[in-house]
Subunit: 209 residues, 2 copies
């Protein structure tokens, strides 16, 4: 089983890294597919699910009443229900075999599959340029607004990640390989990255056999 | 010009990564050679130089006296003199062409050569195991002592790095690729890593031409 998880700063091109890597390795790629899986079982709209989850999950603590935990307030939270549904969706996708999964804290939630955990990042200037290049027509963010938006999205990602992991989002210790894409043409890096990924899995499989 | 700098946590196998990578790429490898270069120009013993520099450079601040800086206390510091000598030594080695340089904050000091900056790290258990494997006969550190020693050496490296860089030592933003060697047989990763490094330089050279 070869699973690669891709965590990434907004605008770093992490999604492109994931997609191209999956293509190069000839394995499945999951990104929005996770939302669609959640939609299937929850009967909610994928757009609604995305909106509900991307703002940073509200962290809720179990309440202790006279030495016994009460889980009811947590289980009743729609956000936590979505997390549970997401967990199940990731599990179903993982069972289908080798894959690249972008985002969704899959690096932590699917830890038992021993994924190769990538973190993709870049400097702010490079991320802003990438955002501008793929912006939809009519988008008129100022640099200041764009910078703030990038920071906000990453802040929400970090908050979601903190809900499930003991390492901070982006802390190298939680990843196997951290790739800086500043000034990089991602397409050109893929053959090299595939070679590294293949070597990593081959070594891991040898150690386990 | 292809320069690769290797920063590494003590016990992570960063030196092995650097040496094997240099061999695979057929380029020069500098590690203790930097000390020997400093020794040549300073007429000091390499062992003495190493000892003087590895304890964490004493950071000295210029003193402001009625709105003018006094640099004298800094320039008189033997540690700073060694830093200056190290800088010159790195410069001389860099001029000799493609190379891998381990440690010495070469990632920052030789920034103008646009090096590929690697950071190699591993979890504590893995680093302790690596230290035990290469320990000299008669070494009888307890686990607690070994753990403390690893932390101390890295603390000194971080302190030396802080002297020259705006990014903290080990902060992913100061590196192009961060490699986790936990449970890895480094030798097996080298073909993949070489491929990545070659792709990275090829892409960089294409962008510049």
């Amino acid at each position: 089983m070869r699973m690669i998880t891709v965590s990434r700063e907004f605008g770093s091109g992490g999604r492109e890294v994931g997609k191209r890597l999956a293509d190069a390795l000839g394995i499945a790629y999951y990104d929005r597919e996770v939302l669609e899986e959640i939609a299937k079982s929850s009967h909610l709209d994928p757009e609604y699910i995305e909106k509900s989850m991307e703002g940073g999950m509200p962290v809720q603590y179990p309440i202790t009443v006279s030495h016994s935990f009460s889980y009811i307030p947590v289980l009743q939270s729609p956000a936590l229900n979505l997390l549970i549904e997401q967990n199940k969706a990731l599990e179903r996708l993982a069972k289908q075999g080798d894959c690249v999964i972008v985002g969704r804290s899959a690096d932590v939630l699917l830890e038992r599959y021993n994924p190769l955990r990538l973190f993709v990042y870049a400097d702010m200037e490079s991320k802003m340029r990438r955002c501008r290049e793929r912006a939809q027509e009519g988008e008129t963010y100022t640099n200041k607004e764009l910078r703030r938006q990038i920071r906000q999205i990453d802040k929400a990602r970090a908050a979601n990640h903190a809900f499930v992991s003991s390492f901070a989002w982006g802390d190298r210790r939680g990843y196997d390989l951290c790739i800086n894409t500043t000034d990089c043409n991602i397409k050109e890096l893929i053959p090299g990255l595939s070679a590294y990924v293949n070597a990593w899995f081959a070594e891991r499989e040898k150690a386990q056999s």
